[in-house]
Every structure is written in structure tokens, then in C-alpha cells.
């Protein structure tokens, strides 16, 4: 076979990438039309957006990539879960659980060494995210409750829990704002490049992306996740393994990565936990994952795309007078465009591959 790489999925197939590009283009076209209808100049708006996101090294590294970091981590969390056909809509809640756990450990453990404190906080955040995901996991595997609803509802529980904690038990000792105390320096992720805000968390995100890719493509465990996602029944009958542990694994690892996203944001950027830490990264993550076709490496790119959107949104508001909510609208449009393009591509594929009605007609 021509495929010497050893990975089974590497067929010279650019269609997913083309599809993603087509979806983005379609989104931009629709957004441009809507902007024009709203009385804004699409050219001015997009120009401002692009400058805000890519206009300078500062904008790109300290704003776009910084914004991309939580999107990348939550996007990877969602991609892994979706790969196993676990529809985890709860990255937002898992992110909050992770942030809370990380902060709790950081402010309560009197360790001065970053080598001790950072790993401990990261571990706590991952564990809390996994714990948050374990509730929907148990409900799905034991009681057959659909995880779309449960993971979503767990988000609200996490948000309210965070609200309660920053108003009460974890409120800063000054007692002025509804936020936690600043975490000690030993619990802060170092920056990567002097003079820029970009921190180690971005690198962690890329490492996790590579690890997930290797895991899915090259290990038996990752293969099982893909098999369950492709066909749970075939996994049982032909794969001869139980799907429940695989589903649990998908939930837990997904939750853990989302949990890391929350703590990494606090540890690398805000240094405190407060209400409204996330503008909805856990939801945008779904768009990140879908646009990446659930491919972990592609998620690095799509996270940067959405990071740029969010970074450029501010500039668009300042320079072109286009409200920031447009960016949220664009994110939603991307999801719709990806799903539509997928369906269109499938139809084209089917027509091309079968070229015949075999399926429609095989019962004749």
C-alpha cells in the first residue's frame, strides 16, 4: 500500500479541510450580508477585525493566541468526547469546576515551590473537571439518561457554584470585590515570550492536542473510542469489547481537559477566579471541534480562528462601531455552516461513490 505512515486515516483526503474552508467562507459571506443589512460596511468591519487579531505581534500573540488557549483546551475536550459519540455540551461547567479546584488548592496550600504547586493545581483542576463529567457519565451508563441534557444542566450548577464561592467562602480577604484572592506566584503559569502575555498554557494545549492525536490514531484505547463513536453495536459484536468503560473514559478525559482549561486561564492570565471568568468558551468549543472535524491537530488551527474572532471583535467594536455580539453570532453561524457543508459533502460523496442507487434499491 501507498500508505507507509502506519496511520490508517492518512489518506490524501483534503475534503475535510476544504469543507471547513468552505464553511468559513460561507459564514463570512453571510456575516458580510448581515453586516451590510445592519448598515455597517463589511469591509471596514472585517478590516478592523483582522487588524485586531493579526495586526501586530502583540495582537496576535498576546491577544489572539491567549484567547485561543481556553478555546483549544475546551475544543479538544469536546472533540474527544464527540469522537466517542459522547455529546458533551458541558465543557463550560467542567471548565468552571477545574478553575475553582485549581484556585482552591492554590490559595489554601502553603507551598512556595512552583514545581510542587503548579502540578498539584493542574491535577486538582483535571480531577474536578472529570468529577463534573462523571455525573452525566453515570447517568448515561447506568440509567440511559441522554448526556446532552445532563451535561448542559451541569453547566448551570457549576456557574452557580462558582458564583456562590466567590461571593462567600472563597471571597478575597479584602472583601471588596466578588472574586478570590490572587493566587501566589508559585501557582502562576510562566509566560512563554518576554513581553507577551502568552503563557505556558498554550503549549500545554498543543501538547495535549498531539497526545490526543497519537492516542486516537495509534493506540488500542484510542481505536476503541473511534470504534464506539463509529458504531457502538459493531464495537460490541466485532470489536468484542464493552462500550461502557470506553464511554466512561471519553467522559472523564474530556472533563479533565475542560477542567484544565479553566484553571489554566486563571493561572496564566487572570490570577484570580471571579464571576464570568468564561465568556462561553465551553460552548464555542463545540464550534472549534466541529470545524476541526474532531481532529485534535486541526483543533489547534480552528481554536486560533475563533481566538482571532474574539480578539478582533473588540477592535471591530472600537474601530467600526460594530457591537461585539456580532462575533457571537458569527460563531453560531460557523456551527450551522459546518453542519450544512457536511451534509452537502455527504450527499455529493454518496452520489459520486455509489453513482448508482445500490442502497436505495438493493432490496429489489
Amino acid at each position: 500500500m501507498s500508505d507507509q505512515s502506519g496511520t490508517p486515516r492518512v489518506r490524501a483526503d483534503l475534503r475535510p479541510a476544504l469543507g471547513a474552508a468552505a464553511a468559513l467562507l460561507a459564514t463570512m459571506a453571510i456575516a458580510a450580508a448581515l453586516l451590510a443589512l445592519g448598515g455597517h460596511s463589511p469591509a471596514v468591519a472585517f478590516g478592523a477585525l483582522a487588524r485586531g487579531a493579526f495586526g501586530s505581534w502583540h495582537n496576535f500573540i498576546s491577544v489572539t493566541l491567549v484567547q485561543a488557549t481556553p478555546l483549544l483546551l475546551t475544543g479538544l475536550a469536546v472533540a474527544l468526547a464527540f469522537k466517542a459519540r459522547v455529546w458533551n455540551i458541558g465543557a463550560e461547567g467542567q471548565l468552571h469546576a477545574g478553575a475553582l479546584a485549581g484556585v482552591a488548592v492554590a490559595v489554601s496550600v502553603p507551598a512556595s515551590s512552583a514545581f510542587l504547586l503548579l502540578p498539584a493545581t493542574l491535577l486538582a483542576a483535571a480531577a474536578a473537571g472529570a468529577l463534573w463529567a462523571s455525573v452525566p457519565a453515570a447517568m448515561k451508563t447506568r440509567m440511559g439518561v441522554g448526556e446532552v441534557i445532563t451535561t448542559l444542566l451541569m453547566n448551570f450548577v457549576a456557574l452557580f457554584l462558582a458564583q456562590f464561592l466567590v461571593h462567600g467562602p472563597l471571597r478575597e480577604s479584602r472583601g471588596v470585590f466578588n472574586q478570590t484572592d490572587a493566587i501566589p506566584a508559585a501557582a502562576q503559569l510562566p509566560t512563554l515570550i518576554p513581553g507577551f502575555r502568552l503563557h505556558l498554557g498554550f503549549l500545554i494545549g498543543i501538547l495535549i492536542a498531539v497526545a490526543l492525536w497519537l492516542y486516537l490514531a495509534r493506540t488500542p484505547g484510542g481505536f476503541r473510542i473511534r470504534a464506539v463513536g463509529a458504531s457502538p453495536r459493531a464495537a460490541e459484536v466485532s470489536g468484542r469489547f464493552r462500550t461502557t468503560p470506553v464511554i466512561w473514559r471519553a467522559f472523564l478525559v474530556s472533563g479533565a481537559i475542560a477542567g484544565l482549561a479553566g484553571w489554566i486561564q486563571v493561572s496564566g492570565i487572570t490570577h484570580r477566579m471571579y464571576e464570568g471568568l468564561s465568556p462561553g468558551w465551553g460552548y464555542t468549543a463545540i464550534a472549534v471541534a466541529l470545524l476541526a472535524r474532531l481532529h485534535p491537530l486541526a483543533a489547534v488551527l480552528t481554536a486560533i480562528v475563533f481566538g482571532a474572532l474574539s480578539a478582533g471583535g473588540g477592535a471591530m467594536q472600537r474601530e467600526a462601531g460594530v457591537p461585539d455580539v456580532w462575533v457571537r453570532g458569527i460563531e453560531a453561524l460557523v456551527i450551522l455552516a459546518v453542519l450544512t457543508v457536511d451534509r452537502v459533502l455527504q450527499t455529493i460523496d454518496r452520489r459520486a461513490a455509489r453513482g448508482s442507487p445500490r442502497a436505495a434499491h438493493s432490496r429489489a
Binding site: M1, G6, P8, P220, A230
Partner: protein, 519 residues
């Protein structure tokens, strides 16, 4: 006399393929017209055009002498056309009565209830047709034959002038087929034209007045059933010089046992096992030797599924002893979604079976190079056409998919191979090819697996098996070699006989057919 249905030059395209290519077809009132052809010949497409489910791209359709352009099933229904699909369209939780009423708008009151007198009309119609139906049992608790009778009654409640039946005999035991045909003859005698889509030649010849053969979307011939032989029809179906060797009905049986009996690879001793759906196993004993094919006949839903999953080691027996190899191959009934993953490549589908084996691992990694090598070897050995390790399984034809699954399951275990209806839904050529591969596997000498062939297709069982047993209501009845013929086995399939010392409860007699009783 006006034809009940008349098609002139009807063409139906799907993409590049012409499912029907300028086909002429005529159905007279009161005749049973057999429609024959291989898979993909266009039989179902033709029926669906008449039923209004597909709009033809070209040609004329007349129903009852009137030219129609059917756009919907409702229109066809209003013209008196009804179709019984191969896969029934019944609501499982509804009773027989509710299902019949649901389908017939004249049963409804304006407020959505059912007319008080409709129950009586259904009973009267069933009596008139001498159709034994269970009106008060939920469909999900009925056997296949009972469900089919509900479908037929449902279709015949209105003024039905044309009745289309798509492969109605595929799910029935031979005796049940007789019962069905008796009903159809009565329906036809009352003036309804019946189109019987089928692929079993002898059955069609027995029931139909005329037969039409389609091949690759084209009309081939229409003859009086009395004036044509099964052989001629077979040739017409596959084209002259076809694959007569593979045609059902022949029946080379009994390879006989060689002097030194090969080792037993799997044994069940008085095994009972529950089932989530359908029948479980009740006191089943069997032994399979290396290199032999043990055929398990039976009407679907009599415990075959449970037997397969017990043999494959997916389910532990509740009682009794199962001596099984560590791993068994299993060619499951459904290819798509059970036997293989369409979106996976052939290599990935092979990996389903071997990903947990040490030989295909390198440290923590799955050794894809090794898997691909195995996949390539398998493609060659099993003659998987247009297959390669990197090709998506979904792009293969059904027969080639099944060959791949068979090869993979052999790779999984060289000891025991369970084949569950391995040729279901395949055309004649693919059927022959898959059967050849399965028999070839049994001839690997010392490396041959013992094969348990579970099939509802009696011809397949007779053709391939060295020994035969029949599965009825969770029990396994061995069939002595002298009874290796359709009539004797068919009788056992219905639970009528009591050979092999198996006791039969009274419930086996109360209803001919394969009712699946709960528990």
C-alpha cells in the same frame, strides 16, 4: 379486459444507474404475477413505482385503465393499490387491530377515534379471507408470520385492486409459505391483482399464474408459469451461461464423517440462556468438530441470536456448560453496524478483531503496519474485489464486505466460526462466492475451524452443512441424515415434529408460526 396495472416504457434512474430501463409490465385483475430477478434487478423499484412511492422518470403508468402520474402513496392507495413491504411498517406497541385501523382512514371518526363498527368489519374481512389474525396482541409480541398477516389484512381492508408483496416468503418457513399462498389465491379469486416479488423460483412457480423476469433494470421475459421451467427462469435472471452451480434447490449434502473424527472445538451441554429480545436457549446441547459445518435451521427469532452470542462468548449461559475456545469468530447477521463499520477502512475493520492481540501491538501502540499486512493478506485470500487495506469498507459491495468479515473472523479464531445468515441480502453471484469461501475455510485441514452455520435459508443449510439441527423456541433438535430434505426440516422448524427426544409443549401447536413468547 382492462389491466389492473399497465406499465409502458417505464424508466427510473438513480444517479447514473437505470434501476428500471424502459420496462413494460402488465398485471391482470385476479392474477398472481411473480416478479423475479437478482438483487438489484429492479423488482422492488418496479413495485414502488406502482405503489406511488417513486415517480418514474419516463414512461406511462396506468392503473385500472386510467393513466396516472403517481406522486404519492396516498394517491396510489386511493386508486386501490396497496403494498406489503419486506420490512413491515407496523407500530410495535399497537395491537393488530390498532395497526389495521391506523392505516385505513375510513376507520377514523372526525375527532380522531376509531369507528365503533370498524372492529366488526375487520373481523368480517379476516373471516372472509380465512386469515387467522391476532387482533388484540401487540405486534411486538407476534411472530413474523402473524405480523405479516396483519400487514396483509391492513392492505386489504379497503377496495384493493392491486396488492404488491415484496419478498413476503423470505421470513417464513415452508409450511407458512403454503398458508400465505392459500390466502393470496383467495384474494386473487376475488379479483385483486397480486404482484409477488420473490427470488425463490420454485415458490413463485407454485403460486403465480404468470412470471416476469427483470435483469439489471430491463424486462427479460413474461411467461405463463405452467410453460416455463425453473432452469429457464434461472438462466433468464442471471443471463445465459450464468451461475447455475450456485442456484438454490440443488442440495449436495452429507460430506460424511471421516474415519478419525477431528477434535471437538466447541461444545454446549444442556445450555440455557435468557435473551433480551426473542427467544433464549433452553437446554441446548451441541458439539462442533474441526473442519465440519453444522447447519442450524429455523424460523428467525427462535433463539438463533442467543445461540450465536453464547457460542461467540459474548453471553454466558445461565445454566449448563459451555466448552468454548478462548475466542470464536462470528459473522453477524447485520453487516453494516455489526459485522463492520462502513466508515472504517478495511484495515480498521480488521483491527476491530485484532487490536487487543499482542501480535498487533508494539509497546503501547497499535501496530498498524502489522494490521495492514494482515488486511492485505485477507483481501487476497478471501478474494475481496476492489479491496485494499486503505479502502473504506462502505465502498465495497455486500458480497465483498461479507467475504472480508468472514476472513477477519477466521483471523480472529482458527477454531470456531459462527456464521449467521451469511448470505442474507446478497445476489446470486455474491451468495455463491461467500458460500465458496465459507466451505473453503472448512477445508483448511488441521487449521480448519469448526463452523456453525445459522441460517433461515433452508437451501443454504442443505447445501453447505455436514450435519443439521433445527432451532425451535430455544431448543435444538438434531436432524438425522435421512431427513435432510426441506419437507422434513420444515416440519421441525414449525415445531410440529418431536424428533430427537425433545418434548414439545402444547403451546407449540396452538399457532403455526414462530410466535415469540415472552420468557
Amino acid at each position: 379486459m382492462t389491466a389492473a396495472v399497465s406499465l409502458r416504457g417505464v424508466t427510473k434512474r438513480f444517479g447514473a444507474l437505470r434501476a428500471l430501463d424502459a420496462v413494460d409490465f402488465e398485471l391482470a385483475p385476479g392474477e398472481i404475477h411473480g416478479l423475479l430477478g437478482e438483487n438489484g434487478a429492479g423488482k422492488t423499484t418496479l413495485a414502488r413505482v406502482v405503489a406511488g412511492l417513486l415517480a418514474p422518470d419516463a414512461g406511462r403508468v396506468q392503473i385500472g385503465g386510467r393513466e396516472v402520474r403517481l406522486g404519492s402513496a396516498a394517491e396510489a392507495r386511493a386508486l386501490g393499490v396497496a403494498m406489503v413491504h419486506q420490512h413491515f411498517s407496523l407500530v410495535p406497541r399497537f395491537t393488530g387491530f390498532e395497526n389495521v385501523a391506523l392505516f385505513n382512514a375510513e376507520a377514523w371518526t372526525p375527532r380522531g377515534g376509531v369507528r365503533d363498527d370498524y372492529r366488526g368489519r375487520i373481523e368480517a374481512r379476516a373471516a372472509e379471507l380465512r386469515l387467522p389474525v391476532q387482533l388484540d396482541v401487540p405486534v411486538e409480541r407476534m411472530g413474523v408470520a402473524d405480523r405479516q398477516r396483519i400487514e396483509i389484512l391492513k392492505a386489504l381492508m379497503g377496495e384493493t385492486r392491486v396488492l404488491l408483496l415484496d419478498e413476503p416468503t423470505a421470513v417464513l418457513a415452508p409450511q407458512e409459505v403454503e398458508g400465505l399462498f392459500a390466502v393470496l389465491r383467495r384474494v386473487a379469486a376475488a379479483g385483486t391483482g397480486i404482484v409477488l416479488v420473490a427470488h425463490k423460483l420454485d415458490e413463485v412457480l407454485a403460486a403465480a399464474g404468470r412470471v416476469t423476469v427483470l435483469r439489471r433494470g430491463r424486462w427479460v421475459l413474461t411467461r405463463e408459469a405452467g410453460g416455463v421451467t425453473a432452469r429457464e427462469l434461472a438462466d433468464a435472471m442471471v443471463g445465459v451461461g450464468g451461475v447455475a452451480a450456485g442456484l438454490p434447490g440443488g442440495g449436495s449434502v452429507l460430506a460424511g464423517q471421516e474415519a478419525p473424527a477431528p477434535a471437538i472445538v466447541a461444545e454446549l451441554k444442556d445450555v440455557s440462556a435468557a435473551s433480551v429480545s426473542g427467544a433464549g436457549l433452553r437446554g441446548v446441547s451441541l458439539a462442533v468438530r474441526r473442519g465440519e459445518i453444522l447447519g442450524i435451521a429455523g424460523v428467525g427469532g427462535n433463539g438463533q441470536r442467543t445461540l450465536a452470542s453464547v457460542l461467540a462468548g459474548l453471553q454466558a449461559p445461565d445454566a449448563g456448560e459451555a466448552v468454548l475456545p478462548a475466542e470464536a469468530g462470528w459473522i453477524p447477521q447485520e453487516r453494516d453496524g455489526e459485522g463492520l463499520v462502513n466508515d472504517f477502512t478495511i484495515a480498521e475493520n480488521v483491527a476491530l478483531a485484532v487490536h487487543a492481540k499482542g501480535a498487533y501491538r508494539r509497546g503501547p501502540w497499535l501496530d498498524w503496519a502489522e494490521v495492514e499486512e494482515a488486511a492485505a493478506a485477507l483481501v487476497g485470500e478471501m478474494d475481496v474485489r476492489s479491496g485494499a487495506p486503505g479502502v473504506a469498507a462502505g465502498t465495497l459491495s455486500g458480497g465483498n464486505q461479507q467475504k472480508m468479515v468472514a476472513g477477519r473472523e477466521f483471523l480472529r479464531s482458527g477454531k470456531l466460526l459462527v456464521a449467521e445468515s451469511p448470505t442474507r441480502g446478497l445476489d446470486v453471484k455474491a451468495t455463491v462466492a461467500v458460500r465458496e469461501r465459507i466451505t473453503a475455510l472448512a477445508k483448511h485441514g488441521d487449521r480448519a475451524p469448526g463452523i456453525v452455520l445459522i441460517s433461515t435459508d433452508l437451501d443454504e443449510i442443505l447445501e453447505l452443512s455436514d450435519r443439521i439441527a433445527v432451532m425451535v423456541r430455544g431448543r435444538l433438535i438434531p436432524v438425522p441424515p435421512e431427513d435432510h430434505n426441506p419437507a422434513a426440516i420444515g416440519e421441525l422448524m414449525l415445531g410440529a415434529g418431536s424428533r430427537g427426544g425433545v418434548r414439545h409443549q402444547a403451546d407449540a401447536r396452538d399457532r403455526p408460526g414462530a410466535r415469540e413468547t415472552a420468557g
